[in-house]
């Protein structure tokens, strides 16, 4: 490209960037830099950060396990009701996360549709556990993965799968050794979005999994609670979360998206 970017595009782009960056600048400027050291040293912060990273990563893995096959089926298999399923998959996007948490409680809570049987048969209750956090995050983040991967599946050249079949590859081998590598960029991008969404998850987590330091209190929950009591601390926590995620995103996205 030797043509310079037109101002009619650069101006709104700058405006958009400012709109995204200004609030962050606000956070940075209002951060209590002088007391930052002592605030960061509190062990709960480290606990919450660790829990956030672990649960977001587990949620992403769970999403990969369920979401990639789901996206593949949506992108490749022509079944009746596909449009409906596709719309259903986007529902957790629209559902306010708090409602998502309520819905999860109704389904997997101690008295929920399935939760009742989990409790009765296996003695497993999900609310108030780290597993509950992972589930809540996965529920909210799954659509991101599915939408991303489905796009990649649709864009991938079907004929490579034909080629694999003529070489004697079973459907599963074809998926594993041909389709998956071909859609890897889409899966990577989807996983990054998914992880980011899981990391920031608040509403569904607090509603479904509750809030207990070290067990279910992730960073966003810690931020929320701190917000009521000590807004300065909340800003510090937010900045920690941001820094960690920007580092991870810049690292991963640069690699996967390009």
């Amino acid at each position: 490209m030797n043509r310079r970017a037109p101002w009619v595009l650069v101006l709104p782009a700058l405006l958009g960037l400012a709109f995204l960056v200004l609030p962050l600048a606000g956070l940075l400027l209002r951060a209590p830099w002088s007391t930052l050291g002592t605030r960061l040293a509190r062990p709960e912060i480290l606990d919450a950060l660790r829990l956030s990273l672990i649960s977001a990563t587990l949620a992403t893995l769970l999403c990969l396990l369920m979401g990639v096959p789901l996206a593949w089926v949506l992108g490749r298999v022509d079944f009746p009701g596909r449009r409906l399923v596709r719309a259903l998959v986007t529902v957790p996007l629209v559902l306010p996360p708090v409602v998502g948490g309520v819905a999860l409680l109704l389904a997997l809570g101690r008295n929920g549709l399935a939760g009742r049987w989990l409790d009765r048969w296996f003695g497993v209750t999900l609310p108030f556990t780290t597993a509950g956090v992972v589930l809540a995050e996965a529920f909210v983040a799954l659509p991101f993965l599915v939408i991303s991967v489905e796009g990649a599946v649709r864009a991938a050249d079907l004929r490579y799968e034909d080629a694999a079949a003529t070489l004697g590859a079973s459907r599963w081998t074809t998926f594993r050794r041909v389709t998956l590598p071909l859609i890897a960029p889409g899966v990577g991008a989807g996983a990054v979005l998914c992880w980011a969404r899981a990391l920031g998850e608040f509403g569904a987590t607090i509603t479904f999994a509750g809030n207990f330091p070290g067990r279910t209190q992730t960073m966003p929950l810690a931020v929320y609670l701190a917000l009521e009591n000590d807004p300065q601390a909340a800003i510090v926590l937010s900045l920690v979360l941001l820094a960690v995620s920007v580092v991870v995103l810049a690292g991963l996205r640069g690699r996967w998206v390009s």
Binding site: A164, G168, S170, P181
Partner: protein, 347 residues
């Protein structure tokens, strides 16, 4: 000697119906020729199991194949743009098939290396497909198809992705590999040259059905449709013969042919047999007609002159001759063909 393959392929797709009987003996290379949309690719995909048959059967070495899925047919396919897996190296591409057939990794890689060596690419084993030239990619695709030890090799326009430059060398190599292959091979192509060079037998299809079949030489000399005639570079007409004299449909012209026949016939002669004159020649050619120049165009190192009115015909002349004749589009010329070079055969 039995056939490797004996098939009747019927595939229906909306308006289009492919209905094709196909056999091939061991070691035989059958070329499937035909215009765009004739159903060549469809036939190949049906043989490979990628498109289900609507009807018919496929028997390979006597075994029924038509109800097996693609992955259980010992078939090798070289796709039109090769479809080498972009994320695997040349070696891994070739080893893919053997791995799928349960060969251990080491052994599969050894086998793949051997195949790459056989197609002359031993030193390109580690390269990714996107960094290979067209000709190299084609050879990797061939090695990949052959590495599973197929009984049937299917090639869909294996040379069409190559530029005019590298084509002859790759074609020559492919011919050698096909000669070494002891199963049957079916080759789809648009290009008469490829077909003539590589195939033992041509099957020409148009509109889903066979219109002509035979050895390359025979088909080249006795085209039965306009498509084939254009393909092999002959002027072709249909007419009625009374002895040596052939009257073309529409009574436009009467030709004298080398053969003596009666009834409906095809009449064919090569463009190089047509001589052009500014004024009516006095000479031996028995077939003489007055025509209009419709177009001029270089053809190999000659100039091809398209004539029309009363019949379409192509004539090849040297640039020197053309300069002498000072022909331009729209000019009227006399065209002559010696009876000895016009060839008639029953329609």
């Amino acid at each position: 000697m039995g056939f490797v393959i004996d098939a009747r392929l019927v595939v229906r797709r909306g308006d289009f119906t492919l209905d094709l009987a196909l056999t091939a003996a061991p070691g035989e290379v059958v070329a499937l020729l035909g215009p765009n949309g004739a159903g060549k690719t469809t036939a190949l995909r049906a043989l490979a199991g990628l498109t289900p048959l609507s009807e018919g059967h496929i028997r390979v070495d006597g075994e029924p194949w038509h109800d097996r899925p693609a992955e259980r047919r010992p078939v090798g396919v070289v796709f039109q743009d090769y479809l080498l897996f972009p994320h695997l190296s040349a070696l891994e591409n070739v080893a893919f098939g053997p791995r799928c057939h349960g060969v251990r990794r080491r052994e599969a890689r050894r086998l793949a290396a051997e195949w790459l060596d056989r197609v002359g690419l031993a030193d390109q084993a580690a390269r990714k497909p996107r960094t290979l030239s067209g000709g190299q990619a084609q050879r990797v695709a061939l090695a990949r198809a052959l590495a599973v030890g197929p009984r049937l090799l299917l090639l869909d326009e294996p040379l069409s992705a190559l530029d005019a430059h590298t084509r002859p060398a790759v074609r020559a190599r492919l011919r050698r590999h096909l000669a070494d292959f002891d199963g049957a091979a079916v080759l789809v192509t648009h290009d008469p040259l490829d077909a003539m060079a590589l195939a033992d037998r041509l099957v020409v299809i148009e509109n889903g059905g066979v219109v002509q079949e035979g050895t390359p030489a025979h088909v080249a000399r006795h085209p039965r449709t306009d498509y084939v005639a254009r393909l092999v570079g002959l002027n072709l007409y249909r007419g009625t013969a009374h002895g040596h004299s052939v009257t073309l449909a529409g009574d436009a012209v009467t030709f004298n042919a080398a053969e003596s026949l009666d009834g409906e016939v095809f009449l064919a002669f090569p463009p190089s047999a047509v001589a052009l004159f500014r004024t009516r020649p006095d000479g031996s050619p028995r077939n003489l007609w007055h025509a209009t120049v419709a177009g001029l165009e270089p053809h190999a190192d000659q100039i091809r002159v398209h004539l029309e009115d009363p019949v379409h015909a192509a004539a090849d002349v040297t640039p020197a001759a053309l300069a002498e004749l000072r022909l331009a589009e729209g000019d009227r010329v006399w065209a002559a063909v010696k009876a000895a070079e016009t060839h008639a055969y029953p329609a």
